[in-house]
Amino acid sequence: MIRRDDVAAGRASSRASALLRGARRLAAAAVLALGFAGVAQAAIDAYTFKDDAERARYTELTRELRCPKCQNQDIADSNAPIAADLRKEIYRMLGEGQSNQQIIDFMVDRYGEFVRYKPELNAHTWLLWFGPAGLLLGGAVLIGVIVVRRRRTSREDADVLSDEERQRLAHLLDKNRE
């Protein structure tokens, strides 16, 4: 015969084991998540390089090239599949011993000048390169001109009347006094 408190005890113990099971599940999930974090990290840096110089070039190139799909990210930063493809392509070309310029030309041939964060200096891009500095310089020159002009006029103000005019002024003032 089953007594009431037995049932209650049974319930309590099943609750406890449910709690334990929950905790275990949580722990498992945490371990799994950590594992995935490791995988995600590895997916970005799964390439092995010949030496540090090659790794540095890879980093430099993936930072200088822009992702065509997610336009304001470089391809090192982007998770888009196209960026992953381009990273793979850069890795392959580095392995083949191609120069940075060759790799950049390869990308520009396919995706246009757009993919470069540092576009080449040519007739189309000189304004982009020198525009900001030019504007700054222009502004400085303008301010300089204004300041110099002001100074000159304020100095001229001191002797704005010629000797002749001064005599006339004195004369007029004398006349008024009389």
Partner: protein
């Protein structure tokens, strides 16, 4: 200071406003293709349906649309009926099945209408890379000699066809007749 110089700030403001106003209506995700006027890249890939090897030579002879698509691409589903209609009107359309699972592509072509004269299986995305594809659907207009004349990124609907592609396609067809 001369009087007209007072107008300079107004002119600058209007110029800036004009520039920014135009910027409101530009779509920065539409990149000009670097490949326009260049030959369609060489490739050697199997066909989607029967695995028969296809090369660039298979695309020559007639002006055509080369449509980059995938079963994973939602917009391609939207575009599909339009392409089917165009194919029925006699427009030559070749497919590049880009980064897709071939079995799924075959299923898609069986289940829906197949507007493609032939379909290139670009599972690894190598042809896509050489074409500067950064998202599907993308459609290239090539002439009979295989030179890329135009590229449209995004879905082709009736409006896009009428306003951007139909005229150029017709011109290429007429060119071939003369």
């Amino acid at each position: 200071m001369k009087r007209w110089m007072l107008l300079i700030p107004l002119v600058l403001f209007l110029g800036m406003a004009g520039l920014l106003y135009r910027g409101l209506y530009l779509d920065p995700s539409e990149l000009p293709s670097a490949l326009i006027g260049k030959p369609f890249p060489e490739f050697n890939l199997p066909a989607v349906q029967d695995g028969k090897p296809l090369t660039r030579a298979d695309l020559l002879g007639k002006p055509a649309l080369v449509n980059v698509w995938g079963t994973w691409c939602v917009a391609c589903r939207v575009e599909h009926p339009v392409l089917t209609k165009l194919a029925e009107q006699g427009v030559v359309i070749y497919g590049v099945n880009y980064k897709d699972v071939n079995a799924e592509a075959q299923k898609w072509l069986k289940e829906f209408h197949d507007p493609y004269q032939l379909n290139i299986n670009d599972e690894a995305g190598s042809l896509g890379l050489n074409l500067g594809v950064y998202g599907a659907p993308e459609t290239f207009l090539i002439d009979a000699k295989g030179v890329i004349r135009y590229k449209h990124v995004g879905v082709i609907d009736q409006t896009v066809w009428r306003e951007k592609l139909a005229g150029q396609y017709q011109a290429l067809v007429d060119e071939g007749r003369e």
